[in-house]
Symmetry: D2
């Protein structure tokens, strides 16, 4: 088999997740190099996943003509720039979300990706989650009929630090962005209008940092479907990740995954495990499957399953949501589109 | 035991429900008369529930000095007028929802109820539902902590006729009003602002009649809680009635009641019963318990559990929701309060 | 409507349950008399359920020519004798289980019932339970295919007093008898052989009284199906009543009923209500429906749904189970059949 | 890290499962050779899991002094002989179940394992299953109190061929053996007596081959606990693997794992996925974890979690079950123990 030769840019948490997926689960690819300015990170990943080359500077990866694809796992504010360089270097690109927090830079990246005829997949891993994918399938094969209402509950187990909140671009761009993508994925349509309301109910320091930690966002889609997302930065019972799609022929709803299927009956109650607590546990299978899909798109020269337009859409919605919350009114996506 | 002597005004479906509850389930009360302009209805109820007196005109009930309490089960547009007459006649009043579709008439009724020192309970039966009451208890005893988000799904099994839609005051006043009450019940706070979006996805004739059949409504409460309600006039799988309350210490969510607890495993799937299909099946216990509560309030001279202010609140929210949908903007309750 | 005129013999707990069912739920019948040697019991029932006549001696009921049917709710050791007298008096009979603990007396009763052409229904109420009846239906309509294995779990919330254990005839005759009936009901076949194992794990005093409090019993049916019953006199989490029927086309299994459908997610677990604790809560609907069925059998002159052969069968199985446990070997039903 | 050097004997289905676990999930070990008389099997495994050496004859593995541990994945009738050779060669042994179908050979193997001071772990992988392990933990930490009843349901999705049935030693030795081990694992005690009943309800050819395909087996443990196992070679809805442990403080029961947590509500029913269909899907995590445990036992010189006595116990129970079924009587384990 001709394995796809991959370089990983960034050896932090998510870089390691993808390295592990390829090393232990995707024989169709091999990691030939990993880079990180903190060279110890790259060293550790090289050791754990048997990666032959490490570099402090990612340009070494872009300059290696034997490398066919790169995974961009560097800090968010570098994604677009590195992606553009990678496109120019003729590498296929898997880029962690978000591509960028500005529309212009995403469009610029898109242009370069198209000009250089490389593939670019965005890391919206939840599209590959077994539960949500099953719902999508039921939607696509007509089981659910015409889609009327999409309900997404997405609550984190622990809030970020207020410092992080300050630099993350705000909850909508940092956290809800996944839910915006999920709503689009399930609706199969473009969002027309957004209304967002937010509050600080978890940590006042997050409020002082100018962000919110709790929100409800409603979306109107062009095909007539409506969606509602509820978010919170902290749910004491763990990572609450549920999607429900309601249509004219029926509804599909996913419950949370949990560690075991054991029920304990005691004198007090009948109890089961809490939802899986951490996003890496909850979404591990989806992280592996998105990389598999990316590798297969290259191998078979097919379109990627999550392209740069899919990367742009949730950014626009997040920007509209921020505007909606600030001005306390519904905001059309067309209002925040540039150019 | 001194039984409370009750007269029932209106022998239609809901009048019969209450008659049955008292006849077969509330020994503390006895029905001494029932009235209905369609006298056959009254006759049939008298036969089925052993009611000694029937009248075409409800004034006969109001004029009977031995009757202590009346249940107003007549058409919606007569509720307030009859309630005011009953208050003047010194009768305790159980009044089906809504008291009226206008704020002014509800306030007028309230004034008369207070002046005549009678009790008046409003028929928001869902507050007595075993599931929702348990959630409320968990909220009230602190198990859930501070309330952050309330999620209500309320979907009917079958749409009304377009004719009904035309005269019902619209979906928000006719159907969502129960959910507005439920949100207030669970939040223990006043709604500050409403945003509503609606669509016609079930029956175009409902749209032609000027109404909607699908909606998402969000509410901001004065205590900082947020709520979202999703409604549809038709769910093919039956009557979908779920409430979830999410707070700083945990969440409580109710699944739908179903006829049996049987799971069938076949070569295709593992299936259980659909939700109970009809509101009378689903809420029968709550209908009985609300009347019990009313009778007990009289017997023990305690405040009723659902008073006329509870009857006014959802009307205001419904009016605001209609305004919000029409003007496509969030509307404050203060904007729709009169006088 | 011509109401069936009913007399109730015995105003203890189960007598009151049936009185309540008829008074508040079965308009096709009316209770015209109730008897109890403890006349206060009869008085109290008469008051609560508006019964016009009370007697200390049940013969007064048997002698009333206007009474068409009697419910025998007296102590177990009087069931057969009263039933035979009632048959001779030409009354239709609803008799609480067990008819008797000896085969001969049941056969004698059967003979008299047939000679006098009255109906006799046995109080195996669980056959009318919504869950178990649904399973039976799936079995009967072929959904499950040929029945292979029946699993019954039946655990009480609290053990009886050792004194009661001493006089009850033992756990198999007192408690498991319901499960023996359920197994026969679901299997639609005759038991061929029984193997029983018992232990004392709940209360050593029950052991000293010569009884057991925990057991597993296996049954072989003549149609090839097998069944297993597990019993315990005490489950700390409440009344555990589950049936599973496994066949060549699928399986149907019932979970326990519970008070609400609410799930609570906290930092420790996701919990739901325990099973309903008490047999009156758990089986109330079945108690009403069995009496309805009896009244309807009389009204329409149809066979009763649980006849005296159904009453005999579990007694034979219980006797065989006792013999099996004592001799530690499988015992054929034919071994314990008399004459 | 000093990796444990492993040789795999047998490159069939289960050999590949273990190879995959080590190659992709257990960095603490490396596979240095694999053998199979069908050399193509070994070649394929070598390719898929990057194993450097392949042999047709397992002796080459036993003769390699750098190999520390072997996994015996050859046909059942060779297990004991190879294990004895491996013990003499000083290799640690992971041996697929059953070690042998005769007690004498297992005892002989045990002797050699002890004399040569090697570790030997038996492949009862279900002890490592997330669900059953959680139940065991609840049992061991006292949450469940004293164990009273163990219920095991174990039903295969598809029957074996009648040919296989003929050579497999019969259902109890081939299939129920896992359940016997599970019962012992959960009971923490020795079985005293067995009663078994079997039937042919799936495939008459299996009956002609002298085997059964459906069974109920009850066990009495020395500590007073009782267990019941129900088995079938075919469940149309998939692989049904459930355990329930009932004790004086509560009960723990595991539901089947399924592919997704999605519920579909349609006009017919509310359905969820069937149980995972195939044992490799259902138990994949347990296969990996048992090998991890074996490798860790070597690395840390600790006792293995499933030793050769654990391998012997279910064989004795299976032999007793066969005798019980043949003679239709309870059989003591002491009756089938060899001198």
């Amino acid at each position: 088999m001709n394995r796809i030769r991959v370089g990983i840019i960034g050896a932090g948490r998510i870089g390691r997740v993808h390295a592990q997926s390829i090393a232990f689960g995707i024989p169709e690819a091999e990691i030939v190099a990993i880079s990180d300015p903190f060279i110890e990170n790259a060293e550790r990943a090289a050791r754990d996943f048997a990666i032959p080359a490490i570099y402090p500077d990612y340009h070494a990866i872009l300059n290696d003509p034997t490398i066919q694809a790169v995974l961009i796992c560097s800090p968010t504010n570098t994604h677009a720039d590195i992606a553009m360089e990678a496109a120019r270097a003729g590498k296929h690109i898997f880029c962690e979300k978000p591509v960028d927090q500005t529309v212009s830079k995403i469009l610029e990246t898109k242009k370069l990706v198209e000009e250089n005829a490389v593939k670019m997949q965005i890391g919206f891993n939840r599209r590959f989650d077994h539960n949500f994918r099953k719902i999508k399938k039921l939607r696509d094969d007509g089981t659910l009929g015409e889609i009327q209402i999409i309900r997404i509950t997405s609550r984190d187990p622990e809030p970020p630090s207020p410092e992080y909140a300050k630099t993350s671009g705000g909850m909508f761009l940092d956290m809800t962005i996944h839910d915006f993508d999920m709503a689009c994925y399930q609706a199969n349509s473009e969002v027309d209008e957004v209304y967002a309301m937010g509050a600080v109910t978890v940590d006042p320091e997050i409020g002082k940092a100018g962000d919110i930690d709790t929100a409800i966002v409603t979306l109107k889609f062009k095909n007539g479907a409506m969606a509602v997302i509820d978010n919170c930065r902290k749910a004491v019972y763990g990572y609450d990740q549920r999607v429900e799609v309601f249509g004219t022929n029926g509804a599909a709803a996913s419950e949370n995954d949990r560690e075991t299927m054991v029920k304990i009956s005691s004198k007090d109650a009948v109890c089961e495990d809490k939802p899986l607590f951490f996003f890496l546990e909850r979404y591990m299978q989806s992280f592996r499957d998105e990389i598999k899909s990316f590798i297969n798109a290259i191998l078979n020269d097919r379109p990627v399953e999550v392209n740069i337009d899919d990367g742009l859409r949730p950014i626009l919605i997040a920007i509209a949501a921020n505007k909606s919350m600030k001005e306390n009114r519904p905001v059309k996506i067309s209002e925040v589109m540039e150019g």
